[in-house]
Assembly symmetry: D2
């Protein structure tokens, strides 16, 4: 693991997600950009001294020194965004599998390089767009794939938080600090932090390709360098239209990620804060409440489920599903067989690159006086 | 009453709204554009023969023939949109008070004429933007007026229906027919029918002035002349941003009008389908569920309430509140006193005109390749 | 109308319910037990002086003096409970139709007398168990009648309020005063006021006959003479079991009337505070959200509906449905035809008598140390 | 671990709960009552051969053979109910800490023996009443402890499931089989399986002592030996009253465990299927939605929380909190210090024994014709 030491929220989540199903063991790390802190964090987590490193370069060098059978299988990159590219690139080029937090990298050019490297190496590369790990998100994706909603017409996705409604970064909050620092976060604030999750959710669930968009970015909190609020209109190939909202100044809201997809035959609504329910409103009958684990769900949703319906699963379980997908892909690769798509179900480096292009396009649109900005690629 | 005869949905709603509080009596009408049908409808509703007219011109002429003390106080115009302007103008110019359905008229020029006429005559003119009659919408408006949300930053309003997801107008549905006919509805479909309600809700609740917008209108159902789906970005004077969505092809949805307003001190969320609750999320405490009739609501909400909390009020009661507001204004005028603003609380001709300008601007933006189109006035 | 003058909550509700559909006109009354107050109330409501009486005896005498064609069709009794019996009996015996508030009377003997009198006169007699007027309650009843839930096994009904959590009657609150006074309310407090609604809801929806019950009544607020909290186990003929809870000391709750019925093929859940939704959970599929007005509802529910789905109806509309049912029965009787059961749908004097027997049995059980007390009849 | 091999639902849950926070490692087991199956299960879970036993006696003997430093710290008993007593007793007497599933044992006498043994040995003994591990259940408990609800008056708890609405045990369903077999489950069906959870939830949250109860047990599914439905009235020391419902034939319901507690100053409502919200309705203000992780929660709730508000935690996390509590108690004991009550927060052997007495009393009441049956002790 690279990053995720003391004080890092997301590192602990990754570790719990890895632990949940007993398929991962944390054996080596460079857990902070501050060598001292990295080592203290590693000790707390029970890393042996010889695999507890002060920086990621040392970690990589040490792993490469070891015989293949003793090396880590996969590195998990949970450091702030600006570190993703060099670390990911180095580990991919050295032949390691990678799990990397999102957004993948800062520029489309970096993303393209990474996609190419993964292609050359044939390694597994997962990006923790964790929300698509929820079983009912997979149910939604499968229903749309099978045409149960007909032709998709309209998509509204919102991810609203309130925690940055005040200038938290001025009070020394670590999470707020790096997120509002262009050097660490890239040019996008709320857009990169949560807007990219919304993009991934839409792209994953609908399978539609975004064609062009029209964005309005705002920094509401005085003195904040990056956007804390984003709204945009979306046009998809094939004619579907959409709206995406991402805001971190929606006072009082927590993680209000909500998706509504409407097609000619029905619509779906899902909310992250009550993830064990999916509302399906068909054209010709009453809305149906689909609950996680119910026997009438598609196999893709059932596979992502651990416990019976009515016993809620949550964020960590969804996160763990991404790790399970990566593990299945690694095992298949080790055996030299094609992975079972129902098992090896995770957001890959292409999804990560698509997210980076999305952010770049939004930033371009926000600066433009033209209504529509097309997505490259 | 003009319009609202057999087969008209909204006429019956107006009559129930008028009846509820015993402040209106229906005594005269021209209830359809087809004279025969107008008279049959009038008989069914118990109009006396001499006040049951075949067209509105006859109604107006007959009323003017009568001595002042026997005339109607107010005319309610519930005919399709294209009839609004001539009828409203004629009755206003003749000195009658008017309640008119929305959208008020087809063009900003007509709206301006009507505003001017009402100004000259000093009559009362209400527009049945009925959703702002809900007690908790008035609570929201009052909370914002008093600064309880701080400075407003972000507004998201959606009005989604599904009933036009198929080509209902091809099956002879009367409601669908006139709404999808540009001659009767003007240039706006879903935009005029429900988008204008969303605009009125935002303007009423926040008191903010819309500065510019960027709209995307779509006709999803093949062969439909007018938009059945609208999405737009909003910018308000003073810096608030917003999103407005209005769609009639959201399969399976009924009248999903939802408003979320977020300010520096808190946010509010209200949904029309559960109108007796308003969720208030303050910056520094848990969300509070405000229910209609609760003693801690503001007077403006209490006045709009008939029965104790926990016994739901609905659409008709909210509609009736518009009529109560108009009645209070008429009574005040009759007495020659200033109306109590808590009683004479209704959307006026200015609100109607603002709605017309909004529609015109959206249509202009939808045709434009520029990102932002400014609102006139 | 007898009772329902100034300060009476329920009188105004009855009047709005009557007005809503234009089938009733209030022409005569004795609106309070205080003659002076009765007349002031009548004047406010626009009664003509000769039909605005100081007591109900005068009202009855005056009506009988008038020729049949000028008499009232029906009297609405909305006075406190202890007045119900003499007034109802007198008007029934004089051949008038009656609408009476619940609980019908104080004793089973009085109820039996009233049932017999109505039988002899052949008049229409409605009891305003208003909650069964909600369209989705009628949908539930119809689904069970048609066997869509299979054999009913378990019923849980709760009616919880919080407004009597403190000793409001000591503060002069009129509603609290008469409800907590045995002389006016009979021997039952919360039991009679809201527990009887719960009984009616269960009996109406399931059609099951209550066989025996086991009750625990409590007066939580010190110094209160009557129960403010009731819990009981229920056994129905045929083997179904149930629980009924009625409490007026559930701090913070408003009118939380909730019904859940479970059978071999499915279950239903309905909540009065969100009356436009009925949740139907079938044995072999996902829960279905049935909304008022949706085309897949049964005719019995459709007839009770005024406006399209998604535009909420509420308490007054449900109340008005009882009045509509009574009006349909009166019209049928006037025409000498059998009433259409879908129109003449209202709780009758038998339902009222059943409610009185229920209250008597609960009071008996509460005093008994035996587990089960059987219902008479 | 004893029990929990292939096909056992709850064993996997225990293991995920143990793994989540990295404080437990599974090193030895006797995972089934069938030796063959035990060993296959152990191999699948990666137990070393010498610690993978065919029966629990072998496991215990083997552990005792090992030097203290190599022994397991704690044994987790997840076998069917009838195994609990001998295994628990043997391990306690041998000085091991124990985590045991609920209900603890079959008789009050067994429970008393176990309590005495734990007392003698001074070991840690946790019972996995997992629902009280939810952070907001701990918040509720803490609010009541601090008097924020005033004096508790009324408690309604329901645990409704639908999975046994048909005779699943006749179809070979393993979960249904042992639960409906008196030899394995004891004399209680739904009562023991889920009614005991409801009892624990009430006792834990309110701290009230149950004084007497009046129960009605039913077996609705023909041919089922044990109750599948239970309803009862409750009386608590100090005057509070309550209702407890537990049913496994509530068609279509999943794990609908719901608690409502009402006191003189406010009431609380919590539902297991949406465990991240607690509704607090104070006497003199609007209901407050308390969400897991919010800064205004009490420390007892905060300690039970892993991730920020709005990212849902679920069943496994709550289960894991019981294991964390046990681990904290074990660590404190190892250090010879008093455990921090905020850390060592878990249902202990006394709670387990109380649950057994509750079940015995309910069974006695169900057979009795007297209204009230007192709880022993």
């Amino acid at each position: 693991m690279v990053g995720g030491g003391q004080g890092a929220f997301i590192g602990a989540v990754h570790r719990k997600a890895m632990a949940l199903d007993g398929q991962y063991e944390l054996v080596a790390g460079a857990l902070s950009s501050t060598p001292e802190k990295a080592r203290v964090s590693g000790r707390e987590l029970g890393l042996s001294e010889d695999r507890n490193h002060g920086d990621w370069q040392a970690l990589l060098a040490d792993e490469l020194r070891r015989p293949r059978s003793e090396r880590i299988d996969v590195v998990s990159i949970v450091a702030p965004n600006h570190i993703h590219f060099p670390v990911a690139q180095a580990f991919v080029e050295a032949g390691f599998h990678v799990v990397c937090d999102k957004p993948l990298v800062h520029t489309g050019a970096q993303a393209a390089e990474l996609v190419a490297a993964v292609g050359r190496q044939g390694t597994v590369f997962g990006v923790t767009y964790n929300y698509t790990g929820y079983p009912l998100v997979r149910q939604a994706r499968e229903m749309i794939r099978r045409g149960e909603l007909g032709t998709i017409r309209k998509i509204v996705v919102e991810y609203n938080q309130g925690w940055l409604a005040t200038k938290l970064e001025a009070e020394g909050n670590k999470q707020a600090l790096w997120r509002s620092d262009p050097a660490q976060s890239g040019g996008a604030g709320a857009l990169g932090d949560i807007g990219s999750h919304a993009e991934n959710l839409v792209s994953t669930v609908t399978g539609l390709k975004l064609e062009s968009l029209c964005a309005d970015l705002t920094s509401f909190v005085p003195g904040r360098a990056l956007d804390d609020d984003a709204s945009m209109l979306l046009r998809f190939e094939g004619g579907a239209r959409g709206v995406l909202v991402a805001s971190q100044v929606n006072t009082g809201l927590e993680n209000a990620l909500r998706l509504r997809v409407s097609g000619t035959l029905g619509s779906l609504e899902w909310r992250q804060e009550e993830p064990n329910r999916l509302l399906h409103s068909p054209l010709d009958g009453p809305p149906r409440v689909l609950s996680r684990g119910a026997p009438w769900l598609h196999e893709a949703a059932q596979r992502a489920t651990r416990i019976p319906p009515g016993h809620p699963e949550g964020f960590i379980e969804a996160f763990a599903n991404v790790y399970l997908g990566v593990a299945a892909a690694i095992r298949a690769r080790a055996k030299g067989v094609a992975p079972d798509p129902l098992e090896a179900d995770y957001p890959d480096v292409e999804a990560g690159a698509r997210g980076v292009r999305f952010i770049e396009t939004v930033l371009e649109s926000a600066r433009s006086s033209a209504k529509w900005t097309r997505l490259a690629g």
